[in-house]
């Protein structure tokens, strides 16, 4: 079992979720792809992206 499979299996068991080898293989594929994209967010300069309120119904107010 790979490190990923061990970790994922332990997480799913903790959550009392039934899973099989097909689930693990698909999850590893999807998780790997998602993580690759999400890690872009780790590299942002937080000073350049200040936390601001978001009201999705309207255009943002001029800052």
């Amino acid at each position: 079992m790979s490190n990923f499979e061990e970790w994922a299996s332990a997480t799913f068991r903790h959550e009392e979720i039934d899973f099989d080898a097909t689930d693990l293989a698909l999850v590893e594929l999807i998780y790997g792809g998602a993580l690759h994209q999400l890690e872009m967010l780790d590299r942002i300069d937080l000073d350049a992206f200040p936390a601001r309120g978001i009201d999705l119904r309207h255009a943002p107010k001029a800052s």
């Binding site: 689930d23 999400l38 780790d42 942002i44 119904r57 309207h58």
Partner: protein, 439 residues
């Protein structure tokens, strides 16, 4: 004599109002057509034969009195729980906000529009009711998640459908099926009784055959008039990379030709921080998707279950960063809308793939269609803006191509002006294209 469902939705409403046809005759003809046509496409797996008859006697004399529509499985109805493409009653039966608005306009809900299970997918391959197929070729995907809405409207089973859009779920199937699909501004309709209430992405949507029908239904859904103005002389922002560059050549050409035909002033545009928008969408989406009950989780397809389980493994550290990017992209968009009226790019990067293997080949390679579909669509969901898909022709295999327009918050009327302008500029030759199933 013309079948009532070959009339536009506006003509249906007028015919009933003027007494040319009764609401009951309209309903009977619609239910019969549904039974004749839906076997191949599975757009409307749940039909309210008797309940729809009962609705006629209670319907108010609104602008859509007696007009039959379908409603996606994401909305609770007074007589049916929302199941979200599963076999489970996930939101108890009630009059959802979107349903109330349409009911007050006088519509008759004849059935539940099929959808991709849990709304997680742009193909329509997986649903507790079985896959939904494309009226242009039943071997191909209708799209998702609102595939039943788009397929039913394209097949002339109904003139309109209440859909929803969390990552392109109204616009993408509309593109695949050659109909008009509009995603509303986030929060513009009451969200009670609607699955979208649990996310910050989802908005109700309308699927119709043309811009005029979409305007009538959208105005009813928003409960405010959407006055028609000229759609000529607009300024359109064209964001080349990746939205125009990584699409099939036929799709690119058809969308480019349609823009030229419309005669709008095209301005090449860069949107600051756009390269981070996909990651921000994903970060938030995974966090908000959550995990359904163990029963539901064990009932869905392996790909959907894997998507949900992958979310369970994903660190929450991405969420606040995704929100910072989301806020920044919203400012960038607002700034872009100072110089253009709307943005335009192909709705889907390719025409509908086969149900058996829903992958597409793009300049960047061969990929499952969900990935580039969501890339083309999700900016509207991340930022809350409305968007619309317009039919702009067929590819060599006679499958529809859609052009997407995205406008500022609350610009639904303006977007529909643009749709109707495009229809006039093209002598309605795109919007009047009819799938083989409906000929």
């Amino acid at each position: 004599m013309t079948h009532p469902q070959d009339l536009s939705l506006r003509q249906q409403a007028d015919a009933i109002r003027h007494g040319d046809i009764s609401a009951r005759e309209m309903l009977d003809a619609t239910l019969l057509r549904l039974k004749e046509r839906d076997n191949d496409i599975n757009s409307t797996p749940v039909v309210f034969d008797e309940l729809s008859q009962a609705q006629i006697s209670q319907a108010p004399a609104g602008p859509l009195f007696g007009v039959p529509i379908t409603v996606k499985d994401m909305y609770a109805l007074p007589w049916r729980a929302a199941r979200n493409g599963t076999t489970y009653n996930l939101i108890p039966a009630s009059a959802s906000g979107a349903y109330r608005n349409l009911r007050d306009a006088g519509v008759i809900v004849i059935g539940i529009a099929n959808q991709h299970e849990l709304g997680i997918g742009t193909t329509g391959v997986y649903s507790a009711y079985g896959p939904m197929a494309n009226p242009w070729n039943p071997l191909n995907c209708a799209g998702g998640s609102s595939g039943g809405s788009a397929a039913g409207v394209a097949a002339r089973i109904v003139g309109g459908s209440l859909a929803s859009d969390s990552g392109g779920s109204t616009r993408l199937p509309s593109s695949f099926c050659g109909v008009v699909g509009i995603k509303l501004t986030y929060g513009a309709v009451p969200y009670d009784g609607y699955f979208g209430a649990a996310t910050t992405f989802s908005a109700p949507g309308i699927v119709a055959r043309d811009g005029g029908d979409a305007r009538l239904l959208t105005a009813a859904l928003l409960q405010r008039p959407l006055p028609q103005q000229s759609g000529s002389g607009l300024r359109v922002g064209v964001v080349r990379d990746p939205f125009w560059n990584d699409v099939q050549p036929e799709v690119h050409e058809a969308c480019e030709n349609a823009l030229a035909l419309a005669g709008w002033k095209a301005i090449d545009l860069k949107i600051e921080n756009l390269e981070l928008a996909g990651a921000a969408f994903l970060g938030r989406l995974i966090a908000e998707a959550g995990i359904p009950s163990r029963e539901v989780l064990s009932s869905v397809s392996a790909p959907t279950r894997a998507l949900l389980l992958a979310g369970l493994l994903t660190s929450a550290r991405f969420v606040p960063r995704a929100d910072r990017v989301r806020a920044a992209v919203r400012y960038s968009l607002a700034s872009a809308f100072d110089s253009v009226d709307f943005l335009a790019w192909p709705t889907a990067p390719a025409t509908a793939p086969s149900l058996e293997e829903p992958w597409v080949t793009l300049p960047s390679g061969r990929v499952p269609v969900d990935v580039p579909n969501v890339r083309q669509a999700s900016l509207a969901n991340l930022t809350g803006i409305p968007g619309v898909s317009i039919p702009v022709g067929l590819d060599a295999s006679q499958m529809p191509i859609g052009l997407q327009l995205l406008g500022p918050w609350g610009s639904e009327a303006r977007l529909l002006d643009a749709v109707e302008h495009m229809e006039r500029a093209s002598d309605r030759r795109f919007v009047n294209l009819t799938p083989p199933l409906a000929r």
